[in-house]
Amino acid sequence: MKIPQMISAAKRGTLSRRAFTQSLLAVGIVPVISQVAPQRARASGTRHATVFTWGGFDVPELYQDYVEKHGDLPDFAIFGAPEDGLTRLRSGFAADLIHPCMGDIPRWRSTGLFQPIDTSRLSNWPDVIPTLYQAPHNLDDADGGVWQVPFDWGQTSITYRTDLYDLEGEESWDILWDERYAGRIGMLASGDDAWWCAAIKAGVSFDQIHTDEAFEAIAAVLRAQRPLVRTYTDDTSSLNQALAAGEMVAAMTWNSSAVELTFEEVPVRFAQPKEGALTWVCGFMMTQNAPSPDSAYDVLDALLSVSAGEFLTGDYGYGHSNARVLELFDDEELAALTLSRDPADILDAGHRSIPQPPEWSARMNTLYEQIKAGF
């Protein structure tokens, strides 16, 4: 029984006594095993890789192959936004793998903190969907490796309560700018999502996003929205709880919020705005001074496996980079998750952010913080 199903069964009061005892048993076994397992791993002499990622990507389901080989999970460090993670790496934090998105790659590479990944060391690489990594800035010219191994893809869009939000006409970004619901709108605090979505709302074409006019237009749109916003946060569980409670009627989220709330039987929909959603591909980059590169390759291989992908798509609603994962779901299921058999269908239907220089990022983030603070 999967955890979200179990929670919703417990809420309905239909959780059987047997299932309850099973879960109690599982809860009891984990602390006992966790005392023994690390010792075994230490005995086998492996040094665990450190994975620096988003909250929610530190679950055992995604690392099954790694656990089988090394006896335990890799070490984790969690960031709120990848930019914070990069800052920590730059100030000397030693991690092996970090989880940014495609548009960050050129800027991140310019720090000299990363090394290309040798794809011949990944047994699952032949199954990886080529459109997800074949961007010119991601391919390493020298040895044919890649800078980032793609892992998850999806959309940044709007999750709204179908029972509380009165939709007029088509789904559109206007939902997050709806003055009828002032104080009940949630926003992502990270400019990497919010700024680009506001650009779509403002009608700014992404290839013009570096111009002064674009900065002005996007800032104006975000300033207009601020009085309506309950809170800006990157903590998806805060947004999910607020949506479930009806504190918010709509929020800017990634796929997983809508999927998790649906598991909890909250009436929500992940909007397909008529202007197009923001689409993204994220993945893992390896640091130049990775302390345990061999374990890091095993982590990457585990992440690319079908079992990891089945969990990522089935439970979180994100697309996975392994083509064979998509075969496990029928068209209807994929449509319900707002995914498609060919990632390009979804990715190209929406808008994909374009890599920008560090100066642009600094300017954008400074301005977005000013707007959030009310200036």
């Binding site: 800052t87 601020r226 809170t231 504190e247 560090p358 983030n365 603070a373 009310g374």
Partner: protein
């Protein structure tokens, strides 16, 4: 220096002893040495580095050490920085004032009216501070939240039809949380200074015909002032720069200077600006502190 020939013949150990006995300040410095070394490494050196960095400029992922006051000019001229700085100082002041006023009666009760098992009382009063700071802040989210204890209680009683929105994600929420989370820092010094008051002074003032209210204002309060001042500082200084509480319970209107400093070192990626903001914050706390001390000094002279 007549004794020097004989001193030269003395063993080194005795000579050192002699020096130590004669120079009291040297003894003091030697005893302080471990603390001074740590203070130097963890406070003075980082402060100097930060001061230097605050005069640089961020360019992409690098710094230009062009030594300019550009960051400070921006802080003084752009409304974002001044507003957040003033807001942080005001919110910390309000939180500190509320806390001192609320914990003073508690400390008074414990110092004068509890005669047995004081330790148990102390433990009970400080019990919330045995948990992590983060947990206490999260507890307030549960209490103040949309479906929180207060809202659901009031709804149950039929006093409100819809949950109160201003409880969470507001400046009020930040002030309430700060006042609770830091209460022990104000409570303990006040309690200690009240506890130290010689009880015979109170008897003397009663014997001389002072009514209880005047006794409080003319004897107890002035004698406990050192504790109140210490508690105020202990709470005010860290709360100005707090960023966890506004992040978790403050909404868009309750952001404080600590949040902005954290962002400069994180997402915004402008470390020189972050350093300049931190230095400005330290300086403004010092200014407010000096002003407060002068105020207290003036009050004391006026009271005499």
């Amino acid at each position: 220096m007549e004794e020097s020939p004989s001193a030269a013949r003395m063993p080194l150990r005795n000579r050192l002893q002699g020096v130590l006995i004669r120079h009291e300040s040297l003894r003091g410095f030697l005893l302080l040495a471990p603390a001074l070394v740590i203070l130097g490494i963890t406070v003075a050196v980082p402060f100097l580095l930060m001061s230097a960095m605050s005069l640089w400029t961020q360019i992409g992922f690098d710094y230009a050490d062009d030594w300019s006051l550009r960051n400070y000019t921006a802080i003084l001229t752009e409304p974002l920085y001044t507003t957040l700085l003033l807001r942080s100082l005001t919110m910390a002041m309000v939180a500190t004032f509320v806390t001192v006023v609320l914990v003073y009666p508690m400390a008074y009760f414990l110092a004068f009216h509890v005669h047995s098992n004081k330790l148990i009382w102390l433990i009970i009063i400080t019990l919330p501070f045995w948990t992590s700071y983060l947990l206490r802040v999260f507890a307030w989210r549960v209490i103040l939240g949309y479906e929180g204890v207060i809202n659901s209680g009031l709804m149950e009683l039929g006093l409100i039809g819809e949950p109160l929105q201003f409880l969470l994600y507001s400046r009020v929420a930040v002030i309430i949380t700060l006042a609770h989370a830091w209460a022990a820092f104000a409570f303990l010094p006040i309690y200690v200074s009240l506890e130290k008051i010689d009880k015979s002074m109170l008897e003397a003032s009663a014997d001389l015909g002072e009514p209880p209210v005047m006794r409080f204002f003319r004897v107890i309060l002035p004698l406990s002032m050192p504790g109140v001042i210490a508690g105020t500082f202990l709470m005010f200084i860290p709360t100005v720069g707090d960023y966890v509480t506004p992040t978790l319970v403050g909404g868009p209107d309750a952001a404080m200077i600590g949040n902005l400093i954290q962002l400069q070192f994180g997402t915004i990626n402008n470390w020189p600006m972050g350093a300049a903001l931190a230095i400005t914050m330290i300086l403004s706390i010092t200014l407010v502190g000096l002003f407060f001390m002068a105020l207290m000094h003036g009050l004391r002279r006026w009271a005499r």
